[in-house]
């Protein structure tokens, strides 16, 4: 089998990274062709944790398939759930109560914060700094505890249902979030102090893995990845859902397109998320938390596509309904991780093998999201 050969005829060395490798953040396999230390070509080999979620969803009802999306990008579980719920709501033309919308938006931004915290922690660890890992997880722990109090799960939630929320928020939710915000605003500058200005970190990130705006566009990158290359693509701005059209926040845009720009975008996005939560947390309106939706949902015949902005980029849900059955005829998820990973060859080819870890950390890979 040619794939097992480690030296090609022309003398390049084939290096297999993964499927079990700490830097790949999951079971992903990279086949790298090396000329000395220079990467000649790099090819991700996927499928190690493919669970055929899309096919499985075709035999589940609309209520049942939402919990599957928590198992794709598990760091953006609430946002993924919102994506599916949103598609169903818009197809059924259900009006979601204001209270549910506010809570959903708060939870989405908390999810984004938690995801970026974990990414920051893991980035530090990947590049050889251990302290960020502890500090990142210290703050993330508070958010996951809030999630646990709200919906009973820390990672794979199933709280957002078509029409609103599964249960009302618990007492003291706003106080808990407020307390977290106060603490975290105090902690966020520490992130900069520890890592952002660190000389070693800068040397390993600035000017490494440059992605141009055109490349970002052609690979279909989204989220912080594309915004670091100057491509404005925030779904919350371009196709507002939930309450985002009425909120004040900035889309963080940088133009350098290197690893450090991607790092900066995510750090600044955390400030924006805090800003969004602050606008809502003290004004959660009273009232219903769930609109009346039939127990057995049947979408009218047709095709539906909605998108949401997860911590990694644009998550799209495409549903075809035949109008008769209570499960989708076909469902397709557009996951941000897959397109972001596609740019890996553009980022890493021609660079040093040692930079690969920094590049992978800056893409913020979640492999179950890529493989589904």
């Amino acid at each position: 089998m040619p794939e097992l050969e480690t030296i090609t005829e022309t003398g390049e060395y084939i290096l297999n990274v993964g499927p079990q490798h700490p830097a790949t953040h999951g079971v992903m396999h990279l086949r790298i062709k090396l000329d000395g230390e220079i990467i000649e070509s790099i090819e991700p080999v996927l499928g190690y944790i493919h669970r055929s979620i899309e096919k499985m969803s075709e035999s589940l009802t609309y209520r049942q398939l939402i919990q599957m999306t928590s198992r794709m990008d598990y760091l953006s579980a609430h946002i993924n759930n919102t994506g599916v719920a949103l598609t169903i709501e818009r197809a059924l033309q259900v009006e979601v109560p204001q209270r549910a919308l506010v809570v959903r938006t708060i939870l989405a931004e908390l999810t984004r914060l938690a995801s970026h915290q974990l990414w920051w922690a893991a980035t530090g660890l990947d590049l050889g700094a251990v302290t960020p890992f502890f500090l990142g997880f210290r703050d993330r722990e508070v958010i996951t505890t809030i999630f646990e109090e709200v919906c009973g799960s820390r990672l794979t939630m199933n709280y957002i249902v078509p029409g609103g929320l599964m249960e009302d928020i618990p007492n003291g939710f706003a106080e808990r979030v407020n307390k977290f915000l106060i603490d975290f605003e105090h902690h966020l500058p520490e992130y900069d102090q520890l890592l952002s200005d660190n000389e070693i970190f800068l040397a390993r990130n600035v000017g490494i893995g440059i992605l141009s705006k055109e490349e970002a566009l052609s690979f279909g990158c989204s989220g912080p990845m594309a915004r670091a290359s100057g491509l404005s693509c925030d779904v919350r701005k371009w196709h507002p859902y939930d309450l985002y059209s009425s909120l004040e926040f900035n889309e963080v845009l940088l133009t350098q397109g290197d690893c450090y720009a991607r790092y900066k975008v995510r750090i600044r996005e955390m400030y924006q998320s805090i800003r969004i939560i602050k606008q809502l947390i003290n004004q959660i309106p009273e009232g219903e938390y769930q609109a009346k939706v039939k127990k057995i949902i049947k979408l009218p015949e047709g095709e539906y596509y909605e998108r949401v902005e997860t911590a990694r980029g644009e998550f799209g849900v495409y549903i075809i309904s035949d109008g008769k059955s209570s499960n989708p005829y076909r469902i397709k998820y557009r996951s941000p991780g897959f397109s972001n990973l596609a740019s890996l060859s553009a980022l890493a080819t021609g660079g040093n093998i040692g930079d690969l870890v920094a590049i992978m950390a800056s893409i913020d890979l979640v492999i179950p999201d890529i493989d589904r």
């Binding site: 919990q67 722990e141 009973g152 799960s153 249960e167 520890l194 000389e199 800068l202």
Partner: protein
């Protein structure tokens, strides 16, 4: 000159990071992590924590499950099987009753769709979370207790 400046800049950036590490080293506080399993006896999960699925029974060993199978239909992976029986009520009607509530613990994804779908509120996800067993057959559980009955107001 710029060489010296570079050295100064990198040293100061690293020292400022070290200063933070030193700050936390000197000012250690209560551990942020759970001291599990040392705190097993005092550890309380939040009220909504999704642990083991339970069919709620009151002190008279009565539950609220009418055997309607709504939870079985709602479950995305077939973890629940409701076995029914027919029972003659006092006024002579032949009614459907719950015989056995089978829950396959090993298949459950803890989505709580079953709890949400139950029209009588008979189910709850309990706080218990230590599930390790030596034999996986024991993970197929019967949730209705021995000799339990349907609560009278639901008969």
């Amino acid at each position: 000159m710029s060489y010296l400046k570079d050295i100064y800049r990198s040293m100061s950036s690293m020292l400022s990071g070290m200063q933070l590490t030193g700050h936390y080293f000197m000012n250690f506080r209560k551990a942020e992590t759970e001291q599990y399993p040392d705190n097993r006896l005092t550890l309380k999960m939040s009220p909504r924590f999704k642990g083991e699925l339970t069919l709620l029974h009151n002190v008279q060993n009565m539950h609220k499950c009418t055997g309607c199978s709504a939870c079985q239909l709602a479950c995305p992976n077939g973890s629940i099987t409701i076995l029914e029986k027919r029972e003659l009520t006092e006024d002579g009607k032949n009614k459907k009753r719950l015989q056995t509530f089978v829950w396959q613990h090993s298949m459950c994804t803890f989505c709580s769709l079953c709890v949400d779908s139950c029209p009588t509120g008979a189910l709850k996800m309990e706080q218990r979370f230590e599930f390790t067993v030596a034999d996986r057959k024991t993970l197929t559980k019967t949730l209705n207790k021995e000799g339990s009955q349907l609560a009278p107001d639901l008969r």
